[in-house]
Amino acid sequence: MPRNLSFKDTPEESRLFLNRIIAALVLILLLTSGLIVRLAYLQIAGHELYTTKAKENSIKFEPTVPSRGIIYDRRGSILAENTQTYSLEIIPEQTQNLDETLEKLKKLLAIPDEKIELFEKLRKRQKKFIGIPLLPNMTEEELAKFAVVRPFFRGVDVQVRQLRYYPYGDLAAHVVGYVGRINEAEMKELPIAEYRGSTFIGKLGIESSYEKELHGTTGYAEIETNVQGRPLKTIKEVNPISGANLHLTLDMALQKTAYDALEQYNGAVVAIEIETGGVLVFASRPGFDPNPFVIGISTPAYQALQSSPDQPLYNRALRGLYPPGSTIKPFMGLAGLEYNAVSAQQPMFCPGSYQLPNSPHRYRDWKKSGHGSVSLPEAITQSCDVYFYRLAGMLGIDHIHSFLQKFGFGEKTGIDLIGEKTGLLPSREWKMSKKNQQWFPGETVITGIGQGYHQVTPLQLAKATATLANFGKVVTPHLVSKISNGSADKLNNNYREATLPVKASNIKTVIAAMVNVVHSNRGTAKSISTGINYQIAGKTGTAQVINIKQNASYNEHQIDFKQRDHALFISFAPADNPKIAVAVIAENGGHGGSVAAPIAAKVIKQYLSDYQQ
């Protein structure tokens, strides 16, 4: 028997061992007591705290997204609607091999790389068990192709989704705007509870300005979830409330006429209903198709829009800044009469240019030979520059500034669109604070003909024209006339502002002169007077894009198209009972009378024939 297989057992060892067993038992009991104390601490003292935490853990509020309000024009044509689209979506968790699935789908449906890229971008931000759109808007052909092979693609399915659609495309893109996916910066600003679950937000135009009304109220389902947020059981449901439908003052037929009439010119047309301030036409050309923005425009397409010299994304009617040119003359003339600087009858002599005393600088008239002796109405009708150089000098910049300000120049019109520009109405204070320079008399002179620092938006011009036609009654231009929220309609009738303290006789004088711009032989827009049975009051304008050097002459045929003057025209009709005011700017159009005036005439003609029976 080997030694190491023998058993030994000595009493000493037994005793020692028993002692150790007792020590072990004591240690075990001590440590167990420690566990019990800790358990008691968690389950008695901490019970309330951990019960609260457990509840927070498992109850989730799952939002249900309201359907977005529809936008109509004044005749009920739909400008923005929600369409049912077929969206090819992939739930990454359910696919066997996502890359392989993508590769197969790409081949099958000829999906361009940029859509795959967009999908990958979205996928990174989403949970694995949420469907991510690969083709958000499938064609019939794609649908048919996929239907055949659908059983072979696990985790890929066609979903019916609501997608915003703009039937008029580029025609009203600037004013209606568009929705797009909420980005991170917007996420930070938004009320989190209201936008839980929302994917889209108004990015531009009415969609953005009336986001709150259009969005509606998010509903929710109280859901018990597991740790990944996967729903298990619905406890309570609150239905969403659809967004309000918006009825605009816009007339799309008129908008189309204006937009088409601009033809090759970049520019803007704004038409306002004089009584209410409702905007009938708010056209900016060139436009762009807002629909790609909804599903996510591809980078090259966006860059093409961004870098186009025509700047299609730019809302010229709202944000375009132009020198008013001669369209400022009726307002200057009215200022002259109001401040008693001139009278309607008193003539001034126009030799073809004007010089300030003690200055060699010659301020030219557009007509080299001069207009001869002209009174204020004649100066407006023929657009005599020298008369207004002088008048501006007589009034001084302070009076010019305070009078033009009353007509809304240099201030926002208050239209219900985000992003409006204030333009610039220069003053001594402005020049001191912005340029740290004194005001020079020569700057007053050119302000008289709407050149120099003065900058206006087409919308400002239209509002000022409407105010003039309204005998000083100011109305706020607006686009939304009615917000229909289910049963409750909210009408927008808060458009009246103060009436300017201007003498009616003075306004009559100016209006008469503006009627002659169109209807007299010497008028600068006489071409549009043929074939109409009402009178249009208007004023042409030409805004310099480049400075012409002293002693040089301007010849539009010799210079680059982009450096040609902008053509402007302001007008209202019928002159004796004004209903509509129209402002037109055709960039690089050259002459207000020949390019801008006919556009306004078309809008007026259509409006009067449609609405004045």
């Binding site: 028997m1 030694r3 190491n4 297989l5 058993f7 030994k8 057992d9 060892e13 020692l16 061992f17 028993l18 150790r20 067993i21 072990a24 038992l25 075990i28 009991l29 440590l31 167990t32 420690g34 566990l35 019990i36 800790r38 358990l39 008691a40 968690l42 389950q43 008695i44 901490g46 019970h47 705290l49 951990y50 019960t51 935490k53 457990a54 853990n57 498992s58 018990e224 979830t225 597991n226 740790v227 990944q228 298990l232």
Partner: protein, 377 residues
């Protein structure tokens, strides 16, 4: 040669008692183990989201484990002693094999792929290490001399370090504890124990900096301040504390665990099953479960005191104490007083490896208890 043995149970009047005695089964231990196993199915049903499949799989493993226990109980402790060194050596070789060609899962290399199933040699060492140390010390006069201590220490360190390198800190700690327990029961002097604790405290910072993996360090940091990383490393502890605390004194009742049903509690049917138990059965339930565990440990320690040779005594003491270490490490980790080291709750957690090892240990204990007065010539 057939030798008559005297067994306590042999005189038991009941038929079952006599049958169990014939099978070398210790009745009290067997009953408590059976109770805990039944309880395990009750909790697993809830923690495993009422999956019957999961219960069937587990029942199969538990059945196998009990069978193994019965087989081991039948073997004479003399045989265990005889093969101690061989089994230990084999275990260490297998650990080295893991090191060279092991199967890697979840960032750790712990398994040998045997085609049919994956085998985890470190589990084997939980039993063969105390066997080896008991065998080595049993032939010397106790308490052990410094030279024997040194050799025993090296014998413990070899598997411990190999397992820690896998890395599997939980099992390494348990293997080391099972070996150290033998030394403790062999009468290691208190002075020496205090000295070792002092040395360990002194080299702890060195281990912290050089020996621990980043994830192991993170677990300890997390233990100290779980709220610092609630969605990452602190998540386990925060969620299990929520489960336990929300259970309160009386618990939410069976199947009432929201934390695991809603999948907030990770590993709710394996390492963190105690949290589910505490949530459903409350403080009272926890006290009941701890009582069952203490009954097991008490019975095992009693068996150790009744053992009639040094090898059996040391091995029985070590296996008993190691069982407590299992319980303490798991519950301590789940209630947030010990770092998270993947140790399952003995007899309760889902999984086959742990229960097979445990019941093998109890089989050896039963063998020791039912083969008394056996003296070979």
């Amino acid at each position: 040669m057939k030798i008559e043995t005297r067994r306590e149970q042999f005189n038991s009047p009941s038929l079952i008692g006599r049958l169990l005695a014939k099978l070398h089964i210790d009745v009290p231990l067997f009953i408590v183990l059976l109770l805990i196993s039944l309880l395990s199915f009750v909790i697993l049903y809830s923690a495993g989201n009422k999956e019957i499949d999961l219960l069937i799989r587990q029942a199969f493993r538990v059945g196998l484990a009990f069978l193994l226990m019965g087989v081991l109980a039948h073997i004479n402790p003399y045989q265990f002693k005889r093969y101690s060194a061989l089994l230990f050596g084999l275990g260490v070789l297998l650990l080295i094999a893991v090191f060279i060609m092991g199967y890697t899962g979840k960032g750790a290399t712990r398994w040998l792929d045997l085609g049919l199933f994956r085998f985890q040699p470190s589990e084997m060492l939980k039993i063969t290490t105390p066997m080896m140390i008991s065998w080595y010390l049993a032939d010397h006069v106790l308490p052990p001399k410094p030279k024997q201590l040194l050799i025993a220490g090296v014998l413990i360190l070899i598997p411990t370090l190999l397992i820690a390198k896998q890395p599997d800190l939980g099992t390494a700690v348990l293997v080391a504890a099972s070996g150290a327990a033998v030394l403790f029961f062999a009468g290691l002097s208190w002075r020496f124990i205090i000295a070792i604790i002092a040395v360990i405290s002194a080299i702890a910072p060195v281990i912290w900096n050089y020996a621990l993996h980043d994830y192991q360090r993170a677990r300890i940091i997390t233990l100290l301040d779980p709220e610092a990383d609630p969605l990452g490393k602190g998540y386990h502890i925060i969620q299990s504390k929520i489960a336990i605390g929300s259970g309160g004194i009386y618990g939410k009742g069976w199947l009432g665990s929201k934390q695991s049903e809603l999948e907030f509690l990770p590993e709710s049917s394996t390492d963190f099953i105690f949290a589910v138990f505490a949530e459903e059965f409350g403080l009272f339930g926890c006290l009941g479960l701890l009582t069952l565990y203490l009954l097991v440990i008490g019975r095992c320690l009693y068996i150790a005191t009744q053992a009639q040779d040094t090898f059996s005594r040391l091995l029985a003491g070590s296996l008993s104490f190691t069982f407590f270490v299992y319980v303490f490490v798991n519950i301590g980790m789940v209630i947030g007083v010990l770092p998270v080291v993947g140790v399952p709750l003995p007899m309760i957690s889902y999984g086959g490896t742990s229960i097979v090892t445990l019941l093998a240990g109890f089989g050896i204990l039963m063998s020791i208890h039912t083969h008394k007065k056996f003296i070979p010539d």
